[in-house]
Symmetry: C2
Subunit: 252 residues, 2 copies
Amino acid sequence: MTVNQNIVKTQDANCPHDKRVSCGNCRLNTICLPISLHIEDIDRLNGIIQRGKPLQKGDYLYRANDHFHSVYAIRSGAVKALTLSDNGEEQVTGFYLPGEVVGMDGIADNHYTNSVIALETASVCEIPFNRMEELSLQIPNLQRHFFQLMSREITQDQQIITLLSKSSAEERIAALLLSISSRNSRRQLSANAFRLPMSRTDIGNYLGLTIETVSRIFTRLQKQNVISVDKKEVLITDMELLRNIANGDGHC
Amino acid sequence: MTVNQNIVKTQDANCPHDKRVSCGNCRLNTICLPISLHIEDIDRLNGIIQRGKPLQKGDYLYRANDHFHSVYAIRSGAVKALTLSDNGEEQVTGFYLPGEVVGMDGIADNHYTNSVIALETASVCEIPFNRMEELSLQIPNLQRHFFQLMSREITQDQQIITLLSKSSAEERIAALLLSISSRNSRRQLSANAFRLPMSRTDIGNYLGLTIETVSRIFTRLQKQNVISVDKKEVLITDMELLRNIANGDGHC
DNA sequence: GCTCACATTTGAGCTAAATCAACTATTTAC
DNA sequence: GTAAATAGTTGATTTAGCTCAAATGTGAGC
């Protein structure tokens, strides 16, 4: 029943296309797993995780209304989650980077409410939820970890609510850039220079702005020497000012 | 250690001021508890629940940054949750009615991110989280139930995100009225006539609108004979039209 | 390289909701 | 009861961001 994937460590264990990956040697495990898990428990968790072939840009990981079966940790690349609103429009509800987990919206009624689409080539670790639940009954730290993961999703969604409810277009864009920046630095990547995996359209959809407004704000931030943008490459040139803008101190 | 509150059933078990309440005889238990719980498991859960004296209007249940200890099921009355945004403004993140559970935002890092304030006299059932976690290890249905509760909070927050990102002021108000209506009917109350427990200011804050806009929309909906408003009392006179308005078919 | 589809930028004008302001109604405190 | 504070309504004006429009840049397929 269990596919044994507790395979020996290799130097290339985090190469996205390398199947010889286990939670025990994954560089992301401090993000995706509970820090306090014992080595043997990590192996047990690793034992239920399934790793398929990578998604190509535009591929669906799952679709809204699909039967809920698993949550997924992003191992490489990036994905977006989106819901269909009642009148049929798409709403991007989040961008997920390596080490982050998608699919927890499906637990409530056994069907996903979001669709998840790869923004670029992406590999994921599938965590069958029923097996994770069983394991959680035996590993209290794992149960706690999933409660925390879901709680974090709640607090993040509430931050987006605040952003959409209270902030100007400029503040929204600044906050998104800072979010991506800090998530990159958590993965030991540069906080100042990175490539946005999503289109301007996705950004606008996520932040409740039109694509034109997104484009104008990028141009404006660049003129203010806060960032430097070249297509999807972003360089934050004045982190302090960007934080001020995000907090609404931009021009008051 | 355990305060035994498995007290005999009374006719008045749901009177908010009556301490002789147990999960086993609570009218709300189909909303707040997993349906599939065995009677003895309900008693075990009931054993860890603490019921204090009711909150008065304006009282805090807990404050943002307080140490996280418990989640709370609303037994009577109504509360609002709110976060402080980075620039110090309040953002109402939700209204919670009897049978609904608040506090799950605190699990992620052991501190609440929201404050919760009573909108009117309200009584709550305190569920100490550590004890609930222990019990969840022994009662798989309880573990599942909490995963589902948290998942539902996620999907609801994402619906608010969509509302704020995509909908007009009129659509937002219509959606809020429909949400309260359906939550009332779930509790066997009227879906058409009810009292809003929150102020116009709270509604505006929650929906990302100014109080003036909220007021104007109420007036407009009344002129369109969709609702009839008298202070906080609302009568939905054309449910079908209200649904159409909420879905953006109001005037297109 | 060339073509076609698509993504992005920029400009001009419009509009929904915000802001500012004045007034009325309802609580709360004394 | 009365006064003061709070909550809600309505009107006039402003504005941030939307819509419409046109041009330009970019990538995939041949």
